[in-house]
């Protein structure tokens, strides 16, 4: 049994709060116990950096320190949270002055950033800590006949310092999808494209153009569904897609939902039933 600190970010809040329960159940089938790091806060979403970068580092030093205090590594399920936290970790690990300054603040809360916990994203956690074989064995309902387009998004591949896979030619997502029994579609240009999530509230036109390009090419490849390891990319696909003039209505899924379903959890609980763009396939 692996025990790991789970960083929820904003993606397991609000209407998505139920997803944590599903994640927990799904991971249990892989002998992984998720311990919710409930004192953690929003990572700042790579936006708080515009306010002040040190604030972003401090927030995330605190987030990481909360995992360290429990003696746990940290699992981050969102690409952006992962990128922001991993960047903060890198800054803290390489800049002693910064670390000391921030630790002085954290001490008041009885916390200290030490740099002892590894920050995992879903993809490298499945690859390095769980292993694809274990996933394969947990599958009860193989996604036979599902044509799934593998879509990474950006923040697990870029920048290089925090990439969890070969940024130019990544394979971890395909491996997982294959383990679930799906037919993987990955020979398309946009699997590392920007999903447009973050620009929806800065320059909306960018989001819509990107969705059009990505979903259009996925549709052309004949995919039944897009799978992404990032809940934000998923939201961009599922929610913002509807803002398009002519939405291609390509269903999408957050990777753990597909895993849950393949592990035998029902469609309702897996979350697959709650998408705005309906997942018809079963």
């Amino acid at each position: 049994m692996i025990k790991i600190g789970f960083y929820q970010g904003c993606c397991f809040q609000g209407q998505d709060a139920h997803m944590f329960e599903t994640m927990k159940e799904t991971f249990k089938k892989l002998d992984v116990e998720l311990e919710l790091l409930e004192e953690t806060t929003c990572c700042g979403g790579n936006t708080i950096d515009e306010e002040n970068r040190k604030l972003s580092y401090a927030i995330n030093a605190r987030n990481i320190a909360l995992a360290e205090a429990r003696g746990l590594d940290m699992l981050v399920s969102c690409n952006t949270c992962y990128m922001v936290i991993a960047k903060a970790k890198r800054a803290l690990d390489t800049d002693e002055e910064l670390r000391e300054e921030i630790n002085n603040l954290l001490r008041e809360e009885g916390l200290e950033y030490k740099g002892t916990s590894r920050i995992y994203h879903l993809l490298d956690f499945f690859r390095d800590a769980v292993g694809y074989e274990k996933i394969r064995k947990a599958v009860k309902r193989p996604l036979k006949g599902w044509k799934v387009a593998a879509y990474y998004g950006c923040h697990v591949l870029y920048p290089k310092e925090i990439a969890i896979d070969n940024s130019d030619n990544p394979s971890s997502l395909q491996e997982i999808l294959k383990a679930l029994g799906a037919e993987v579609i990955d020979d398309y240009e946009h699997k590392d494209a920007c999903c447009g999530y973050h620009s929806f509230f800065t320059d909306k036109s960018m989001t819509l153009k990107k969705l059009n390009r990505i979903l259009g090419s996925v549709k052309k490849m004949g995919a039944d569904i897009v799978a992404t390891p990032c809940p934000l990319c998923f939201k961009s696909f599922d929610i913002y897609q509807l803002n398009m003039e002519k939405p291609p209505m390509v269903p999408s899924s957050f990777l753990p939902e597909l895993m849950a379903y393949a592990f035998g959890i029902d469609k309702e609980t897996s979350g697959l039933a709650h998408h705005l763009v309906k997942v018809e396939k079963d």
Partner: protein
């Protein structure tokens, strides 16, 4: 000798009706530039590409390998073969610029775009002596502010890889913002020039950057344009250019994270675009599916101490926005209205019980007598 096949983009607009790929077998040795020079010297002298210093200081030889932007002289062939598992390597010219011939693209457009951002020092006579025999004093500490940006060598790798250039032709390009930002943090540069740069940056697509981080990845020199763009956005907001969706988004983040430890995605459309309908529609859609929708995020455990840290940093640091305490009070009120209790009580009592997520709002309300 180990070899690999390169499929090289060829196009001479005078002769060829359309571009095509020509295959060459090259040794897996040295860098990609070595491979191209090998082709030129031994296989095909007609192949056109730019190269000059061969030691990653001139920025001439950027191109794409299987769609990924690389500086040829900095890319070991071994690494390429490992990444692509010995498969043929497709060599293309950079994106977003017109092809002049083969791997040579027209870089005048990005240079012209860059020029609009005043990427040069406009000396402040109060700091920079007009007497040419007088030295201007610059402390090593202050030079740290632009130590990465000055490495830009105009290779246009970031321009090629940029997701914003892709969808906004006016967008100036990552490098252009970095080169402009370098002067924004130089004490010798005059304030009026700094304000102009911000205005031009905004009209040049400052808020169109999608923060994909690809520019950081492809930069052969460790420049971090996406981060400089964040810095420029912060500067623009600080200078009062707040009438932009992005500025309002920033305000949302700054206030909500302080107030609750979380952002509130449900309220973003409203606070950024004044779109109230979006929240109602989304709420309804989810409720119809039987998904519980929270009006406000669950305030983080230990929120009060978190607020202390947050304020402590903002009080000391240079920042884009002041915390809007009236907004924070409104958020506090929303939280206490929903839960019928003040924010401190909610946080502490909710966490004491170690509630699970499902149905939390209902349980909370019950617990706190807010039925």
């Amino acid at each position: 000798m180990e070899t690999v096949k390169l499929q090289v983009f060829r196009y001479d607009p005078e002769k060829d009706a359309a571009p095509y790929y020509k295959e060459y077998e090259v040794p897996v040795e040295g860098t990609l530039l070595n491979a191209l020079l090998y082709i030129k010297d031994n296989l095909d002298p007609t192949l056109a590409f730019r190269a000059f210093c061969r030691s990653e200081v001139c920025g001439s030889c950027s191109m794409k390998v299987n769609g990924k932007t690389k500086l040829a002289c900095k890319t070991p062939m071994k690494e390429l073969v490992e990444t692509w598992k010995g498969k043929p390597l497709r060599i293309d010219p950079l994106s977003h610029m017109n092809v002049i011939k083969d791997l040579v693209v027209d870089i005048d457009k990005p240079i012209e775009k860059m020029k609009t951002l005043i990427p040069w020092l406009v000396p402040d006579p109060r700091v920079v002596p007009t007497d040419p025999m007088h030295e201007s004093i610059i402390y090593p500490e202050e030079m740290k502010a632009y130590r990465d940006q000055i490495h830009c060598m105009l290779c246009f790798s970031c321009y090629s890889a940029c997701e914003a250039v892709e969808d906004n032709s006016r967008y100036r390009g990552p490098f252009a913002f970095s080169r402009a930002y370098r002067f924004q943090v130089d004490r010798r540069d005059i304030e009026t020039a700094k304000e102009k740069r911000i205005r031009y940056a905004i009209s040049g697509g400052l808020w169109s950057c999608v923060q994909c981080q690809k520019c950081l990845y492809v930069c052969p020199k460790g420049v971090k344009p996406a981060e400089d763009i964040q810095n420029l956005r912060g500067q623009s907001v600080k200078k009062g250019f707040t009438d932009k969706p992005g500025a309002r988004k920033l305000k949302h983040f700054v206030d909500w994270i302080y107030a609750t430890g979380q952002i509130n995605r449900l309220y973003l459309p409203e606070e950024v675009y004044g779109n109230k309908e979006a929240r109602e529609k989304l709420t309804k859609a989810y409720q119809e599916m039987g998904v519980e929708v929270w009006e406000v995020p669950k305030p983080t455990k230990g929120l009060m101490k978190f607020r202390d840290i947050y304020l402590e940093i903002l009080s000391k640091e240079n920042k884009a926005l002041e915390l809007d305490f009236s907004h924070v009070r409104k958020i506090d009120k929303m939280v206490s209205d929903i839960f019928k209790a003040d924010i401190c009580t909610i946080v502490d009592r909710a966490h004491e019980r170690g509630e699970s997520a499902k149905g939390l709002i209902g349980k909370l309300k019950e617990l706190l007598g807010g039925k």
